[in-house]
């Protein structure tokens, strides 16, 4: 059972990975337009974020699964879409919108005075963002970012509803084949797999948090505890 479940893990991880990368890019673009108001584009960005945050993720997956083929045909392409691709696209959009609502408050939480100081010294907008405001916003955003990754991992379990063969879908296949004799142990193994995935994600985020210079305290310059209670 376990090897079978694990054989589906690469797909779960691939979907997660694509959503993390694409979602990050989407969130960055969306957030940029939400903080630097540009007529029409900024409103569209707001609309997208409220879609991603208020529509149930299962529904977003269905929208992607049934909507993407229509879009592809509309622009005259062949329907090459599989459930996996629909899952990647759907979850990227979900994660990107959700993440933008982590990034925007983090950006706004950076003290106005930091902008003033950088502007008065002649930094360009780009220099100010990459050297001063961005790093501080990242530090503020990290805990929220960690949460968004964990929600994403949970929501990948929903891709079975559109027929993608992730660990969850595979678990159901196994259980049915075994006449539903081993449901509890199977779910238990699933729970362990998800816990480990989330723990790894959390540890990675935590390591970034602790490495951030803004973590420095009066007592211990920079190298505070890396492994507090989980």
């Amino acid at each position: 059972m376990i090897p079978e479940l694990l054989s589906a893990l690469p797909l779960t991880l691939a979907i997660t990975f694509v959503a993390i990368v694409a979602g990050f890019g989407l969130a960055l673009i969306t957030t940029t337009f939400r903080v630097r108001r540009v007529p029409v584009i900024s409103q569209l960005a707001d609309l997208y974020v409220s879609y991603a945050r208020s529509v149930p993720v299962v529904l977003q997956l269905f929208v992607s699964f049934y909507g993407l083929p229509l879009l592809v045909i509309l622009i005259g392409g062949d329907d090459f879409l599989t459930a996996t691709i629909a899952a990647m696209v759907g979850l990227s959009f979900y994660h990107g919108g959700y993440l933008s609502e982590v990034m925007r408050p983090a950006y706004l939480a950076v003290d106005r005075g930091q902008h003033d100081a950088a502007d008065s010294l002649g930094y360009t907008f780009r220099q100010k963002i990459t050297r001063i405001v961005g790093p501080q916003a990242v530090h503020i955003a990290l805990p929220g970012y960690g949460n968004s990754i964990i929600y994403l991992i949970h929501n990948v379990a929903l891709v079975m509803y559109i027929g993608a063969a992730d660990v969850m879908a595979t678990a159901h296949l196994i259980m049915e084949r075994d006449y539903n004799q081993y449901q509890f142990p199977t779910y238990l193994v699933l729970a362990v797999i998800y816990s480990i995935l989330c723990l790894i994600a959390w540890l990675i985020i935590r390591a970034f948090e602790v490495r951030s210079p803004m973590y420095a305290t009066k007592e211990a310059p920079v190298r505070a505890a890396l492994m507090p209670s989980v």
Binding site: Q114, A117, P213, T217, P221
Partner: protein, 246 residues
């Protein structure tokens, strides 16, 4: 070298600056005093275009700008030749003390890291922070933060220093160390504008005092004209309410 003419600025419906005129000569040390909320901070911010006036002009050496036609090149040129010290310090929180001082030199002035480090070390020595150069802002006292802010401003070699109530956010016992540094800076001959509530200090270091009241310059003169024989009744009232002068 710096002329501000008929500067006007409103936030929403409240008029903050109602036609400020101010002219500063090279080498002047001008202290700006006045009640809270009269627009002293806003005036300093306008010079750097951190606040955006509705109208007025600024002339800075050869650079001339009408705020109704603000242009990026002029704003940048003025920003590069002035340096501001803030009431809330505004030291970059993600950088150590020396990085704070070096970064503008490397990023904006495109100096080499080595040269920037040399200049930064010298300025930090000048403000007495050599031993703290690798500390992060979260590890420093208010006085140390403000001295970092001053070193960062000095390092860019500005023609004009703009101090906005540099000691107002400090615990009383830390005010002295910062005033000492400011006195050292202003006595070195650099043109300075200083917004302050430290009346005695203003009197000691300035050759000119500007009294701002309700968004305009209400009195302007030598320290003795302003402090010893205030002609403006609002100024006299303000000074007696500050009662910091013996």
């Amino acid at each position: 070298m710096l002329d501000i003419h008929d500067l006007k600025l409103s936030y929403g419906n409240s008029k903050i600056l109602n036609g400020v005129n101010l002219s500063v000569k090279r080498g002047d040390v001008v202290s700006i005093i006045g009640p809270s909320g009269t627009g002293k901070t806003t005036l300093l911010k306008c010079i750097n275009y951190l606040a955006k006036p509705a109208s007025g002009t600024i002339t800075f050496d050869g650079i001339r700008m009408d705020y109704q036609r603000a242009d990026k090149a002029a704003i940048q040129a003025i920003r590069l030749r002035t340096a501001m010290v803030f009431q809330q310090f505004n030291v970059f929180k993600n950088m150590t003390v020396i990085q704070n001082v070096m970064d503008p030199l490397v990023v904006v002035q495109r100096k080499s890291k080595e040269e920037a480090r040399e200049i930064a070390a010298r300025e930090l020595e000048r403000v007495g922070l050599s031993t703290k150069q690798d500390h992060y802002p979260s590890q420093l006292s208010g006085g140390q933060l403000q001295r970092t802010g001053i070193a960062r401003a000095l390092a860019v070699r500005p023609d004009v220093m703009l101090f906005d109530e540099p000691t107002s956010s400090l615990d009383p016992e830390l005010v002295g160390e910062v005033l000492k540094v400011i006195k050292d800076v202003t006595s070195s001959g650099i043109t300075s504008l200083l917004v302050t509530h430290e009346m005695q200090f203003a009197k000691n270091i300035s050759n000119r005092i500007v009294f701002m009241d309700r968004g305009v310059v209400a009195a302007d003169g030598s320290p003795s004209e302003i402090f010893d024989a205030p002609s403006n009744p609002r100024l006299a009232q303000f000074l007696s309410s500050e009662h910091t002068l013996q």
